[in-house]
């Protein structure tokens, strides 16, 4: 008989609680925990203790900060392994978008931030497989190419984990970029113009967003 099999029911339930909390429990284990929580007064207190452990473990992990330039260094290592990336060709579409972007009246501080961001975070991130379009990701599907999007620049001190968490929870995707100046093309799952405007506002409100400008909008009724 294994150690796990020798456990008392309480021991077994306490062992399963972390997996109940992280949502990975299923089948008979899930049923057993739910029955225990419903029937034993001590179970809810135990759940509270497990939640405190959850918070403690999360805090201990998130106290560790990955280096801000990790992505940049990884891209260089990847290029060293896979061969040099091609520089993107110019595009009138990009030139126009960039012209609008630079026209945003946020002054010298923005320009300095742009340079800093380009140096620290994304300088080497040119798309290797683009075919005459600076922002297209190599291998992107047709629906990505038609997806509504915005052009976004993140603050120099933006953390990758914050950005990726925000993108993931809102169904947004980086579908292109960054350019040498740090501009990303953000695909947006907007069904209509109102959704699009709402999502632009949401992106603009994030503390890590430097600037966002509108790109392709969804066509209502189309």
């Amino acid at each position: 008989m294994s150690a796990a099999e020798k456990m008392s029911r309480r021991d077994q339930m306490e062992t399963l609680l972390p997996f109940y909390l992280n949502g990975s429990l299923e089948g008979s284990d899930l049923e057993a925990i739910e029955e225990w929580l419903a029937s034993d007064p001590a179970a809810l207190a135990a759940l509270g203790e497990a939640e405190a452990e959850f918070s403690g473990a999360t805090a201990a992990n998130e106290a560790i900060r990955p280096p801000a330039d990790a992505l940049s260094r990884f891209a260089k290592a990847l290029d060293a392994e896979a061969g040099p990336a091609r520089k993107p060709a110019g595009s009138s579409w990009l030139a126009q978008a960039w012209g609008r972007f630079m026209a945003v009246p946020v002054g010298v501080a923005w320009a300095a931030a742009a340079v800093l961001l380009a140096l620290v975070m994304v300088q080497s991130f040119v798309e290797p497989g683009g075919k005459g379009n600076d922002f297209e990701i190599a291998g992107a599907e047709d629906d990505l190419a038609k997806m509504p999007f915005a052009l976004v620049k993140f603050k120099p001190d933006a953390r990758m984990s914050d950005i990726s968490g925000f993108l993931g929870s809102n169904g947004l995707k980086i579908i292109g970029g960054p350019t040498a100046d740090g501009v990303f093309r953000l695909g947006m799952p907007a069904a209509n113009a109102a959704d699009y405007t709402k999502q632009i506002g949401l992106i603009a409100a994030q503390p890590f967003t430097e600037t966002v400008i509108e790109g392709r909008k969804p066509v209502d009724g189309g």
């Binding site: 972390p18 990975s24 203790e49 990847l78 896979a82 291998g139």
Partner: protein, 188 residues
Amino acid sequence: MTAATETDRALVDRVAKGDRAAVRLLFMRHHARVYRFVARQTGSEMMADDIANEVFLELWRQAPGFEGRSEVSTWLLGIARFKALSLLRKKKEDWIDDEAAAAVPDGADTPEVVTMKEDKAAALRRFVDALPEEHRVVIDLAYYHGQSVSEIGEVLDIPVATVKTRMFYARKKLGEALKAAGYDRGWP
């Protein structure tokens, strides 16, 4: 299976076809967790930096062979675990004297004294940090990485029953440490 997981797999498919943008997207999505996982395992952020980078290069190399039998995150953590153990074996004597030694609790404060200075949450975090590695890693994988019992077994290459046994002892030790510090939670 969540939509996010399907997207991970779709990205791995793109990586398998040589799409560098896809591997960078996966890096952005998973790097922080892989980095933290290795940092917790090795006690060295320098090693975590090297290994996390290697994990994603390995993703680039191995993507064509990825069969999707596990979640991409589980696969990456498994690669990270393997690389960390390999490097630890090579560098053990070098790093144990400095970084890791600094990370090991010095024993100057008893749990009671520590708790006088901290609230329960901070004490609990400290007790999680002080768990033996084999116990702490299952706590981290379950609570922070959201892994299931079977996924943890896959990452650590141990049977499911062993995962449960380690979780049992990990939580028991946390309970005992809390109790010693004046927080009796009724179990164990």
